[in-house]
Amino acid sequence: MSLDTLRDSIPDYARDLKLNLGSVLAAPGAPGLNEKQIWGVAVASAIASRNTEFASRIETLAAAHLDEAYLNAARAAAAIMGMNNIYYRFLHLVEDAEYAQMPARLRMNVIGNPGIDKLDFELVSLAVSAVNGCGMCIVAHEKQLRKHEVSREAIQSAVRIAAVIHAVAGVLEHASAARPEVAAVAA
């Protein structure tokens, strides 16, 4: 299934998203990012957006652009940030600094050894943090990327992808729940 078919399954009331999806997933619409980064961010954002059917479609499309290691790293970023965004958001919000002094005692070894370039993993993690809505995680990952001279433009591109993917995931979820025939046609 092509990206166009996927876009066609987006209802007309969300035409803006349909157009945005086409633009942010293509290099000219995602300045500063290479093809791998675009699709890595897309996969992780789709998984984080919790629409399994949409996520697997994005994964299928991404497979044309990513090797297995990259695809797995994107999944791993969605997985580990699914935990870290919750845990650290708690630390950031709780208004009791004592909690931050307590060791998390959570394994997160994949961050140290993600199997792809660490900065790419950071970028994908930032996108997931944006989807999951952890403010300080966003701050921290953005700082890491900027420290290593990743441009604001590239970071913005990743977040634009995350934002569009998140919105489309929600719309398609609703569309298929509200009108089963939409899901049938789209599949």
């Binding site: 650290y88 630390l91 005692r105 070894n109």
Partner: protein
């Protein structure tokens, strides 16, 4: 005895990995498991009472160790042939999923300082060695006391649990803790 933070000694030992005599023996050195953690545990003698239960208990948790990127290695001063005979003889050892190494020259046990001066055999010692070859945990019990593989897993988890994520960033701190 070798302690925390010290370099685990080099070794080259024959290990038993199968019941089939044709492919039972394999040589193991400090470089056999690149990038992995190593959990080396020693027992006094093959064919004794406490040992098979304990070794089988490690065997049952082998998947847990593997999932943590750790290679289990069992060691005693018995020869590889004795290991092989014991492995075939004892039902709970027949499918042992990790090698039994033979420190027959007692060099490794001596270097580690775990050769019992009275009995002349290895003490019931357990070492966790990180991928850089550094001893991170030592656990020795009296010759007659068995040990808990679950405790070793717990320690391994604690050793491997670093807060690596920049999410753990606190104000005024802008570097990743671990490289």
């Amino acid at each position: 005895m070798l302690g925390i933070g010290q370099k685990f000694p080099n070794y080259s030992l024959t290990g038993v990995v199968s019941n089939d005599l044709e492919k039972a023996f394999q040589q193991f050195t400090q470089d056999s498991h690149p990038g992995k953690w190593r959990v080396l545990f020693f027992w006094p003698k093959d064919f004794t009472f406490v040992c098979p239960t304990e070794i089988a208990a490690f065997g049952k948790l082998e998947k847990e160790f593997k999932a943590r990127d750790a290679q289990l290695l069992g060691v005693s001063i018995d020869s590889e042939y004795v290991h092989h005979a014991w492995r075939r003889e004892k039902e709970e050892l027949r499918n042992l999923p990790f090698p039994m190494l033979s420190d027959i020259k007692r060099e490794l046990s001596t270097a580690l300082g775990i050769l019992d001066p009275e009995a002349g055999v290895s003490q019931r010692a357990t070492f966790i060695v990180d991928p850089q070859g550094i001893v991170r945990f030592v656990y020795v019990t009296d010759l007659s006391v068995g040990r808990s593989p679950e405790e070793v897993i717990r320690v391994l988890d604690a050793l491997q649990t670093d807060e690596l994520c920049p999410c753990n960033w606190k104000k005024g701190e802008d570097t990743l803790k671990a490289a």
